[in-house]
Symmetry: C2
Subunit: 323 residues, 2 copies
């Protein structure tokens, strides 16, 4: 890949993906379709279609629409836990997608296949063990995701402040920090901790172009500190906005519910119910802690401008500090 022409020519993430800013929009189920992904890519970041909520034919449609909506690089995020993963990968390869982010599974299974087709592969991890596995699998970059991130998360509960330098110590490939990052200040901090770029979810979920339900976007904008919780730890930890469904889970957990009890309580389709259909009481509302600092729903272009502006202000402020 060729380097782009921005001043940030030495950045490993902009070079790897051939983008202007080292800002990745996280693939989020029910929220990141072609409209969000193409808007982020058109603004100089890397947009990702989140395939976790898509049937194969839906993913195909989103890829095709994304290609029409942008001539910039974009990618697809594939959580490796659904039965249709093989079909999704076939479509990605057939459609000529150049970038894939895998998550929630073993990077070994698909990395070689994707790279054989010239696809750049990044893998999401939350601990050192999987960072090492990802490197061994031959991925091009790692997304290092801290406890404060929305959605599914690691059992270790290591935060971005601790995880980022911890992963930096053991891998040489580019690192994209995720979790708790929604502004230029936190982007700058993540890069100081050793990341080469950042992945931002929640801030983009509360954008005009995100495909989540209006109710969900409003819930993100009105969420305050402490309004999310990492829950369902007996199944797989997931960070949700606290609502009526969450309260039932909490009560069940506090009184000793088993994994089976919790699976029954969870049932099926709650993520769609909450984030896509807008049922704020009964749905799963997956979002990061940083939602407590988000209070508006903005166009992607404005979100990107704000981040870059604040990043540069922070860089300027930090240049003055000498100890």
């Amino acid at each position: 890949m060729t380097n782009h022409k921005s001043p940030m020519t030495k950045n490993k993430i902009t070079s790897l993906f051939n983008i202007k800013y080292p800002i990745i929009q996280g693939g989020m189920i029910w929220c990141s379709g072609w409209e969000l992904a193409s808007a982020v890519s058109n603004s100089g970041g890397l947009g990702l279609i989140g395939s976790g909520s898509m049937y194969p034919e839906i993913l195909e449609e989103h890829i095709q629409k994304c290609k029409k909506a942008t001539n910039k690089p974009f990618g697809v995020n594939v959580p490796l836990l659904y039965p249709q993963t093989d079909e999704l990968m076939e479509i990605i390869i057939r459609e000529g997608v150049k970038i894939v982010f895998t998550s929630a599974g073993n990077p070994k299974k698909y990395t070689a296949l994707l790279k054989d087709h010239g696809i750049v592969v990044a893998h999401v991890i939350a601990n050192k063990k999987f960072a090492q596995k990802a490197v061994e699998a031959g991925v091009d970059a790692i997304v290092s995701e801290g406890f404060e991130a929305g959605g599914h998360n690691g059992f270790e509960e290591t935060t971005t402040m601790v995880l980022t330098p911890m992963i930096r110590e053991i891998v040489d490939i580019p690192i994209i920090a995720a979790g708790g990052i929604g502004s230029g200040k936190s982007m700058f901090a993540a890069m100081a901790l050793g990341a080469d770029g950042v992945q931002i979810g929640s801030r983009f979920a509360a954008s005009i172009e995100a495909s989540g339900h209006r109710n969900f976007k409003n819930a993100i904008a009105s969420a305050q500190e402490g309004d999310t919780s990492l829950t369902l730890k007996k199944i797989v930890p997931v960070r949700l906005i606290k609502n009526e469904f969450y309260n039932r889970v909490k009560l069940a957990e506090d009184t000793g519910a088993s994994e089976d009890d919790l699976r029954e309580l969870l049932g099926k389709g709650r993520a769609k119910m909450g984030m896509y259909e807008g049922d704020l009481n009964e749905g799963e509302l997956e979002i990061g802690q940083v939602s407590g600092m988000i209070d508006d729903i903005l166009p992607v272009s404005e979100i990107m401008e704000n981040i870059i502006l604040e990043f540069n202000e922070t860089a300027k402020r930090m240049k003055e500090i000498v100890i």
Copy 2:
């Protein structure tokens, strides 16, 4: 107070406490007596005697020894939850201590008294509500402590990455970030997030001068990622190294133990048993997530040098980044 002579003359924390570096050593029960506090102060930071584990006469002795061991400013940390707090405050005032950090309680009760005696007061918070209360109480600085910190912690579980800019938005007084900070990189990141200085606990608990048991220091040095957990949330959340005692708590919690059950299981004196007497199986071992990155027990002077060196390296590296 007069400004010191270092290049960092504009820093609000170094000015407030009349110290060289904006690095506070967190007051930690059983770990931070006069030896640790004076060593940190002698190295250019601010040492704090942790009075949480001290009877009044013991605190008096530590203050007197600290005064002999350093001519630099030092302070006392007072958790506002013990019955003897009035007596501790009397001793602090009588001994002419100039700096007090309060924590774990309402800042309203003692701030005016302390300030009437010319004492600089900082208060530890983990959420916006208590940050505002602290400002209203008239404190001179806030310690903003994230989820990753060791020991007692907030119910909101907000991480340093999210909490620091969140508190920065609502207060104008100096902010000292805490939680997950044990190196120059994370110190620089915390200041990028909006902190004026940092409070470091775990890294100093694993120092030669810390008063914790050798076994506890070794446990910090050998702790890996995921080896601590925020637990006992039905009582007051506390971050501990996972050991046999923790495993029993976890099992009890997973099977629905009540607050009373947990209080019985906890009993009395486990913090002393673990951190001061070195019982790694049955004691409470309070330490932060950053212990996963600490693998040696060093003299305070070396810890301080390493932090400053890495801070300056990070500052240099970040100056090169333009986006």
